[in-house]
Symmetry: C2
Subunit: 405 residues, 2 copies
């Protein structure tokens, strides 16, 4: 199940960014499970990674390589996360980089590896290495849609976003793909995102855009509160467009940032819409908080409450469960009589109890929709935060009781 | 579903503590939904209450009354939590106390009210008041088993514990009942516990025993991470046994505390065994922590992980999910190469990866059991904490997508 139509957009190719896809047969014979990004020599790359302390070997290697060289290749495999694999996992990740580097005539440190899939099984290095010639031979700028499918694990559909804008007469393209459906939570989950633009961006700005936009999109989505060991979101800029370098002081920056923000947001929301077993796309909007931490504590407590999530699955406007979740979020000296809780535009809670004008019919009408907003106004300050989540269904249990992730 | 046999023990009556049961028809006609405890005049009562900031009206009233008078009656209803009901809820709780007080010839402040059930619906005061004569007329010391059934909500079975010990020639009885199956989490959930002894206990000691033993039992169990607005655990001491008052310096205290601890523990574990949809009883044992907070953060992160809980439901020794949960628990500078994770007596993780002597068969053998221990040694210090939880099954979703709690 998934929420909304979820069809892939038409992808604009990004000059200087080629994609190759191959089948290594890691979990299933014939399945496309290897994706390669080939970047033009002057491309710049920034990234954000999982905050899980058990980060997987490819995360450790990618982070290190990113600090050493300008990357020329990204190598992604699905079917095996190469996580919880100790020293051997590090060796295996490096072997894959080395093999690709030899074939492409570059250095191993110019390759960033990414893995997603089962935790704790040794990476089948030979299978991956054997598939590299095929992946490298077929790199083209127009294979985004195939790549979107090639990085899927328990995803039910590929995820992508693509926009083209004009910056003072210079067309700029931004295209991206993402994957992830479970173990999704703030601070990157079994989530991979790859976003590329042909704009030329100053290196520091590129990293600050990745961090800032990743924080407000990929780091604000949660399916089940679990954070994977492997998440990564990479932002690539090939620099091949016809305009000038974009820096912190460029007048073009606001328009570019907004277009990039939209791509990050679409890719992050696509993950929630395809959340394991999801039937609802839920926005949790916390206003009037006195700090960001407080706003996020309330939002995530509601977003992670299994009782709220099962009520959403049942389309049950069970406001008591939302209220109970807010009450246990750990906000000190919460004024229960001041705060307000809304379901869509229907006020649920006011003056410390059910709103006088609330009716079950009005609550039900909102709950019957596929896209639902729960808004909580704490009336303590001016901080506002939003997180996105989905409901908790029978299919979530089925998927996770069957799948060895 | 539930774990283990779960038959009620034979209850020893507690001198000075009488129980009455009646049917008010709050949710279903004919259902026994009112329980009354009648205490001897010299009885002492201590209690611990929910830490949810949206605590329900009866919790506010019970806490206040407990500070004003020695309680003579406890009045418990199921079917309606009288929570999220604002000022009217307070009035309703007081009206019930007042009605009981008039009938019993005492003051309203000598009645402690408790409610559990649906949140946000007005309490049907008239139905409760109409059932009081029946409840009060039938109080006897031998109705513990009926009371255990009378306080159930989504529980599939009644829960009780009863012991009799000898303190220097003076027999002492401790009997107790509890309820709760969902919305259970540290700091009291939709959990009610009523424990009575005929020992005479110094008032300060009684409260410190309730706090200390409640902390290590009822406040260490979690079904779904949700905390109810209504939880309460009351410890009553009638003082009618033949021995001396037990104080902090009594030589009898250690033996009495141990017997009481066992009753608290049995009642708390019974709630987990009857967790909504539970098929496994899971002990999460964290050792080698450098602080209590750190130990509890790790234990609850594992206990609340939907991915760990669905793997437990599937009897899948999916150690990668346990490792990922430990890694995101927020322990600073965790030494991934030092820590060890065990499933029963089988080592899963050592030296930063899967233990060399681990085999799927050995892990599976532990997972196939109904009672499972996950032990995590952080190798950072000497602090040890234990929490108890259950797995996450299809039935959990079914129960909570159907039940308006």
């Amino acid at each position: 199940m998934a929420v909304g139509p979820g069809t892939l957009p038409e992808f604009y190719p990004v000059a200087g960014v080629k994609l190759g896809i191959a089948s290594a047969g890691i979990k299933k014979p014939g399945r496309k499970d290897i994706v390669v990004f080939e970047l033009a020599p002057d491309a710049r790359v920034a990234g954000i990674f999982t905050r899980n302390q058990f980060c997987a070997a490819p995360v450790v290697v990618s982070r290190r390589h990113l600090g050493q060289s300008a990357p020329r290749y990204l190598l992604i495999n699905t079917g095996n996360a190469n996580a919880g694999t100790g020293d051997r996992g590090m060796d295996d990740a490096l072997k894959c980089c080395q093999a690709l580097a030899e074939k492409a005539g570059i250095r191993a440190a110019e390759v960033l590896p990414f893995s997603t899939g089962v935790i704790g099984e040794p990476l089948p290095v030979d299978k991956i290495v054997n598939a590299l010639p095929d992946a490298l031979a077929g790199t083209r700028e127009d294979r985004w849609a195939e790549a979107a499918s090639g990085i899927m694990t328990t995803d039910t559909r590929p995820k992508g976003a693509s926009v083209r804008i004009d910056l003072d007469g210079h067309p700029v393209t931004i295209s991206g793909i993402s994957k992830g459906a479970g173990m999704i939570r703030p601070n990157m989950a079994t989530m991979l995102g790859f976003i590329a633009t042909d704009a030329r961006i100053a290196p520091d700005l590129l990293q600050s855009l990745a961090s800032e936009l990743g924080e407000k999109s990929f780091n604000r989505i949660t399916i089940d509160g679990d954070t994977s060991t492997n998440d990564a979101c990479m932002l690539m800029a090939s620099g091949q467009y016809s305009g000038p370098e974009i820096t912190e002081s460029s007048p073009q920056l606001p328009k570019f940032r907004e277009a990039l923000r939209q791509v990050f947001m679409d890719l992050a929301h696509a993950i929630v819409r395809d959340g394991e077993g999801a039937t609802k796309f839920v926005t949790i909007d916390v206003r009037g908080a006195s700090s960001q931490q407080e706003a996020l504590d309330v939002a995530y407590t509601v977003a992670h409450s299994p009782l709220v999530k099962t009520a959403l699955f049942a389309s049950d406007p069970n406001w008591g469960r939302i209220l109970a979740a807010v009450g246990r979020a750990g906000v000190p000296d919460l004024d229960l009589r001041a705060l307000e809780i809304y379901l869509g535009d229907v006020c649920l809670v006011r003056d410390g109890g059910r709103a006088e004008d609330y009716s079950e019919e009005r609550g039900q009408a909102v709950m019957d929709g596929e896209e639902i907003t729960i808004a909580i106004d704490l009336k303590r300050g001016a901080v506002h935060e939003t997180v996105w989540t989905c409901d908790f269904s029978h299919d979530y249990v089925t998927i996770n009781a069957d799948y060895r992730s």
